[in-house]
Symmetry: C2
Subunit: 313 residues, 2 copies
Amino acid sequence: MNAAVDFSLDAWSQPRLQAVEAALSTWVTADTVPALGWGAPSGLVDTMRYAVLDGGKRLRPLLALAAYEAVNPEPGAQQPSAAALRAACAVELIHAYSLVHDDMPCMDNDVLRRGKPTVHVQFGEAAALLAGDALQALAFELLTPDDGSVPLAVQGRLCAVLARAAGSTGMAGGQAIDLASVGQSLDEQSLRHMHQLKTGALLKASVMLGAACGQASETAQRALADYGRALGLAFQVMDDVLDVTADSATLGKTAGKDADHDKPTYVSLMGLERSRRYAQELLEEAHTALAASGLANTAALAALADRVLHRNH
Amino acid sequence: MNAAVDFSLDAWSQPRLQAVEAALSTWVTADTVPALGWGAPSGLVDTMRYAVLDGGKRLRPLLALAAYEAVNPEPGAQQPSAAALRAACAVELIHAYSLVHDDMPCMDNDVLRRGKPTVHVQFGEAAALLAGDALQALAFELLTPDDGSVPLAVQGRLCAVLARAAGSTGMAGGQAIDLASVGQSLDEQSLRHMHQLKTGALLKASVMLGAACGQASETAQRALADYGRALGLAFQVMDDVLDVTADSATLGKTAGKDADHDKPTYVSLMGLERSRRYAQELLEEAHTALAASGLANTAALAALADRVLHRNH
């Protein structure tokens, strides 16, 4: 990890986060589409912007950009490529829509998210439902521009990866297992399977989308998939740890809600200390995968994995 | 329309409907994905299948297949091409998800659909929400197979068309306008705009997706877009007519609900007879567009337009 010694994740992240925020603000818009003669209705767009902008750690976009740069190093470049920026924002839109729907009364019935009222509290349930639906579609719109910035074949590949990570064998599938497991006792294997789908699939997809925007070798792709898988699981284990150790103000969402909802978690299954150790082991797996990737420019990916383990919210 | 004299829509539709039903049943599945080592959770898949299978007129898939065959005539072929079949099923999945979400208590709160209890009545609201979300993702999964049956560049193009038709400048946008217009009086232009988004965008996309699977000339594409636009609007005008003239048993859903919900409709705006005449004019526009397409094999598209006007449910 010598290459990472001089690497500042904050310095690396700052211009990229700015680019992601600016792009999201540009793309989640009511502007008229010339080919159609109309834009999205402003009420719907207001709801979508509330759900997406000014919030979140943007871990998934940063993973996508870091993976792209690992595969396509351009030393000194501070601004992401157009394709990678679209991939980064698309995966964030899927994440944002999932939070909107997950917070709804028929799901987790949560009222606080990123320190603000949740979307359905602010705009009503029907608006939240529609905004989530529209955000999912918008993710695929972002991946398929007609301006030539993303080659058509890459567009197809990106949509393939994102759709599978979002759908019934990915995020939505994991949420369905989560829903069915309330009040059940899951063993470690079942809990891991649920999280691989619910959170892991989209985190891994973030990495793979970034890689797909560049020209990753088979070896690099396999290693990045291993990295994404380990990071995704570490993220969820730490989420469970933070749910019991952090307060709502730090989390920006209701703390202790998993335990309150009688949901199985790593902490309920293996206790706090063993959960922390497990997250540490997964972090080491992620670093090992990067070392095996044959890629030189993995400092950002390595630092993002470290931050997943050491975050406090 | 001489070519249409000997054309039987029923005979044309029958093998194609069988192919669509079989494909939907195959693709909405809990089967293990070899690359993942797992499949979609069976409870989620049961809900998705309930929402998709054994119901619906499959107008959108038939439009996609008819447009493909107009562009790519293979006389005597009874089975659709793999790409066109995927496009046909993908657009139906988007339609099916929209019905699931639209029926939910926070939206139309409907309990009857295609003569069966709606999805949230049968499986609960959370399951309905997740199944709808997963069906939207599955539509994009269908368009992006890794088996070589759809060229990567065509995959990108198909995803672009479908995402825009489903999203905030298409179906979801139209539903948002619909939601905001309850109890409002819309003028004809605003009502048309709402329907162009809410139903028209996806019907037009059905046609354009089929065309995109073939090699449509610019002229043919423009004409097919005009056909799709006129047909989409005619469909909605007739939907409003049927809402007041048909009974629930024939419709397979609750009749009179738009009037009950104080929603603006063509019938409330222009009366029953003028609505019927308007639908007839739109049908003629659709036929004119087909004649201008330069395509020879448009009998199925012509017959589908006729059926939209003369359907009783």
